[in-house]
């Protein structure tokens, strides 16, 4: 027994020593929260690709400091578990920054934690407008539904589309999308003939697509979370002959690059309004895609990867501004009004809402070089988060 106690004491001493040395190494710790298992696990990989590719492109360090990325798996929309994970990251791992977040409930759950601990948190994906209002330490580099929907509604009205049916998933961003469309489209003189809400667990979209067909609208505006639901809905749209019936597809992220090739030629002509296309013609985008391919030749660049890429840029600026020390308010103050050229186009962090102001593009799916791409046919110009302006 005594021998064991000696062993224990030595082990404890070594552990303390190790802990002490690592504290002096000045590593910036960033916690990345996302789904790494479950049906949305692809988001975890996309975040990882974007974040690590960015750090590699900066030579392995951000603002001269070593950065350690700590990944935590939320599994899906699981606010209780997310809160526990983030609490541990803040209290035990003592992270300096947080990034990630795919689902609204998970982001909402950690708002009180980051507010109290003053931990700047960059949202790489979650798209409900109200999130950034819940804490002063949220910064968002993704998009919101109002931001990408309002210009699309204006475009539709201008292009003689008068009757539209909306079909959205029944959750925060989906309801935001429906509200944004209704508000702007009716303002422009159009009518929303039916508002279909699809439960989140739906996998068979044929009934909803049939309802769209029966509604008598000229177009369907759809929003679903990326991954299996989006794939299922677009396939159902294609396979049930809606395009032939004359009902145009108006969407946002449904044709994203991760699943785009799976639709086949049936997807050609689908119209979407979004902030990032893999086919965006700019040097910044080419550099971004090259860095991604260097990290993993099979990696695909889409809105989530760009969200992580730009998110790490924002974190880099925050590290610069605070000199590597943990100072939440100084960090947030430094990025208000920050402007830069992102792979998606020119962007700016709105000083009041801490949400990204960016160009939104009208895209049509085309075939280029044997692959399907989202070709940007029109630039709506810089859009703010209209959802917060009310």
């Amino acid at each position: 027994m005594a021998f064991n106690r000696v062993r224990l004491a030595v082990a404890l001493a070594l552990a303390c020593f190790a802990a002490g040395t690592s504290a002096q190494a000045q590593t910036i710790k960033v916690g990345i929260i996302g789904p790494f298992s479950g049906p949305f696990a692809h988001y975890g990989t996309l975040f990882k690709n974007g974040a690590e590719a960015y750090i590699a492109s900066q030579g392995g360090k951000l603002a001269g400091k070593q950065v350690e990325l700590i990944y935590r798996d939320t599994g899906g929309p699981n606010p209780g578990q997310t809160k526990t994970l983030v609490q541990e990251l803040i209290v035990k791992d003592k992270v300096d920054y947080l990034g990630g977040f795919v689902f609204t409930p998970n982001a909402l759950a950690v708002a009180p934690l980051i507010q109290q601990s003053q931990t700047p948190t960059v949202i790489f994906n979650a798209a409900t407008s109200a999130i950034t209002e819940k804490s002063d330490y949220f910064v968002r580099t993704s998009f919101t539904l109002w931001q990408v929907t309002v210009p699309l509604a204006q475009w539709a009205a201008k292009n003689k589309i008068k009757k539209v049916v909306t079909a959205v998933s029944d959750y925060g961003p989906g309801i935001d999308a429906e509200a944004a469309w209704k508000s702007e489209f009716t303002k422009q003189g159009g009518t929303v003939v039916e508002s279909i809400r699809m439960p989140m667990p739906t996998t068979d979209f044929a009934p909803f697509v049939q309802r769209v067909k029966a509604s008598g609208a000229q177009a369907v505006y759809a929003f679903l979370p990326g991954g299996p639901p989006t794939l299922g809905f677009v396939k159902a749209y294609n396979e049930n002959g809606l395009a032939k019936a004359g009902i145009q597809f108006l969407g946002t992220g449904e044709t994203d690059e991760v699943d785009l090739q799976k639709f086949g030629d049936a997807a050609i002509g689908l119209t979407t309004s979004y902030h990032y296309s893999g086919a965006h013609d700019s040097d910044a985008n080419r550099k971004f895609l090259a860095a991604l391919k260097k990290k993993d030749p099979k990696a695909v660049g889409n809105y989530a990867v760009v969200g992580a890429w730009d998110g790490m840029y924002v974190i880099q600026k925050m590290i610069e501004a605070t000199g590597g020390q943990k100072n939440g308010s100084k960090a947030i103050a430094a990025v208000r009004g920050l402007q830069w050229e992102s792979p998606r186009g020119p962007v700016r962090i709105d000083p009041k809402t801490r949400h990204v102001v960016q160009n939104v593009y009208l895209r049509k799916v085309e075939k280029a070089g044997g692959q399907l791409v989202n070709k940007e046919v029109q630039n709506f110009g810089p859009q703010t988060d209209y959802g917060l302006q009310k």
């Binding site: 298992s37 479950g38 049906p39 696990a41 692809h42 990989t45 029944d170 279909i196 809400r197 699809m198 439960p199 667990p201 739906t202 996998t203 068979d204 044929a206 009934p207 909803f208 049939q210 309802r211 029966a214 991954g227 299996p228 794939l231 299922g232 396939k235 396979e239 049930n240 002959g241 032939k244 019936a245 991760v258 699943d259 799976k262 086949g264």
Partner: protein, 289 residues
Amino acid sequence: MRVVANVLVDGLAYGMVLFVIAAGLSVTLGLMRFVNLSHGAFAMIGGYGAVVLTRDARCSFWLAMLAASTATGVVGAVLEALVLRHLYRRGELDQVLFTLGLTFFLIATTNALAGPQVQLIELPPRLAQPVDLGFRTLPAQRLLVLACGVVVALATAWVVTRARFGIWLRAAVDHPEMAAALGIPIRLVQNASFAVGAALAGLGGILGAELMPLEPYYALKYLVLVLVVVSVGGMGSLLGSLVASLMLGIVETASKYVASEWGSLFFFLAMALLLAWRPNGLLRPRAAA
């Protein structure tokens, strides 16, 4: 009227998929009284097998469908003979725990081998086309599902009522001791029916891949649906499973058409009412042991 036609077509297709997957579980539960919660994993294995065969081995869809289902059946037979049969004597909770653990393990294996994203089976061009039936355009694949479902239903009905194996099966389900005493090879019947059930599940996974997308969590996600069908239809009753899956498929589809904000409420309400009315299953008037 159009809505009714739509509901019928989509509901029957959905119900057929559920039937094909659930048939095997119904037999396993009724025959061996073995709570096999890894049944959903067989559907998943069949589906993924078809994906690999059509995409990587460039097989034709029909060949892949046949090969993947058969392979799943073989996997089931091996699993049953080596591992699962030792659990027949254990309590239900042990069976639940083991098969759940097996399901988790298979989910993790699928994730490790194929990645977390949804996999699509490459359909031959004829099946991928929409077909115009006059009142409704639907993907040709749905017609295939309906046709296969009918074939499976008829085939199983024939086997159960006419073939010797079916007679052995029914005897073993109704009175296992008596059947054994009469010289019916119970072990063979158990293994063979488990294997066939697994193969059918695999086939269901392939047919239903459009309705129930293939991804690693498939095994757990659709487990509840299959359990519902089996419980409502009655353990061991194939006809019961057919009727239950068609009815529930139509209810679920109807609610999607008419009352989608209520989610799966009507499905489970219908299930609860049916179970309350016929606790031992729709078509099993005798009390289950």
